[in-house]
């Protein structure tokens, strides 16, 4: 599990058609794997204290993540860039 901190995993989401692609929500941020969890990369500009993450099954490059207080973030490029949903 290279690249994933050894702490609590709050949320998890997997791509609907490519199961190698998955996201994890943690205190330290949002992490993406393209290898079914073998290697992970943290989203550089994503939020921290992330409680949950979800993928739009109709458009899987659209990914949502929520902080524990409900502040919602959205990415439209598969988790590379994140912005608060307003």
């Amino acid at each position: 599990m290279g690249g994933l901190p050894t702490s609590t995993v709050n949320g998890f989401a997997v791509h609907p058609t490519n199961p190698q692609v998955m996201y994890v929500a943690m205190r330290d941020g949002i992490f993406r794997s393209d290898s079914a969890g073998e290697r992970w990369t943290r989203a550089a500009n994503g939020p921290k204290h992330v409680a949950a993450v979800a993928i739009n099954p109709k458009n899987p490059t659209e990914v949502y993540a929520t902080m524990a207080d409900g502040t919602l973030f959205r990415s439209t490029d598969g988790g590379a860039r994140w912005a608060e949903a307003r």
Binding site: M1, L4, T6, S7, T8, V9, N10, G11, F12, A13, V14, P16, P19, Q20, M22, V24, R27, A36, G37, E38, K48, H49, V50, A51, A52, V53, A54, I55, N56, P57, K58, N59, E62, Y64, A65, T66, M67, A68, D69, G70, T71, L72, R74, E84, A85, R86
Partner: protein, 218 residues
């Protein structure tokens, strides 16, 4: 490698469960598990949520469901506005929603796991909800995974009384206990469509001890 969170039917359970630190079960409410409560910034979410546990998008991509300490909420506008969803509850003013699983093909079908009342299901897009708890060992469900290949098959992680991993193969009509599950608190459970070579796919569990996975052919 990801840790296996439990043994498959062919392996001894103790072998793998021993890889989870003994302290993991004690982290509920501890500084690690509680860290997400701290906002640490000026951002404010929806004030009525309380602590958020879960997020899901329906199969048509149109509706977001958010599970929180104060109940279930839905948004039709990408999260700009949220409406509370009334769930059936005999004994509680609101239910603490721990997990939400949207059917991968039918946007009207959504399953919700709660802290106090087990599981509820809608098949009409969230207007009517009914309990689907027959055979479930307890009412405190912390993780819920829907099988992407066979959406009538789900796995649920029950905590505390009657704890374990439970499986239904008929959309929640009947649950059967299939495994002890990972050590420590399960925060999230998901079925991942990667063949195990043993006829099943992998079940991933996010816990206080990190991410673990196990073949689902318990």
């Amino acid at each position: 490698m990801l840790k296996l969170f439990s043994a498959s039917a062919a392996l001894a359970a103790a072998l793998v469960l021993a890889t989870v630190p003994a302290s993991a079960a004690e982290e509920k409410g501890g500084p690690l598990a509680d860290d997400t409560h701290a906002s640490g910034s000026a951002r404010q979410g929806h004030s009525s949520f309380g602590h958020v546990h879960a997020l899901a998008v329906t199969a048509d991509g149109r509706t977001l469901f958010l599970g929180a300490h104060s109940g279930l909420f839905r948004s039709e506008d990408g999260g700009r506005s949220w409406q509370p969803v009334a769930l059936p509850s005999k004994h509680h003013p609101h239910l603490d929603v721990m997990a939400v699983a949207a059917h991968p093909a039918d946007a009207r079908t959504v399953y919700v796991a709660t802290h106090e009342a087990g599981m509820v299901k809608t098949t009409d897009g969230g207007k009517d909800w009914h309990e689907v708890n027959a055979g479930l060992g307890g009412v405190d469900v912390h993780g819920l995974a829907i099988d992407p290949r066979e959406p009538h098959k789900l796995h649920a992680a029950v905590r505390d009384k009657g704890e374990g991993i439970f499986r239904t193969t008929d959309g929640g009509a009947k649950w059967v206990r299939v495994d002890d599950g990972p050590g420590g608190e399960v925060k999230v459970l998901a079925s991942v469509n990667i063949p195990t070579g043993m006829g099943g796919i992998f079940l991933y569990a996010g816990t206080a001890a990190g991410l673990q996975r196990n073949p689902d052919c318990f």
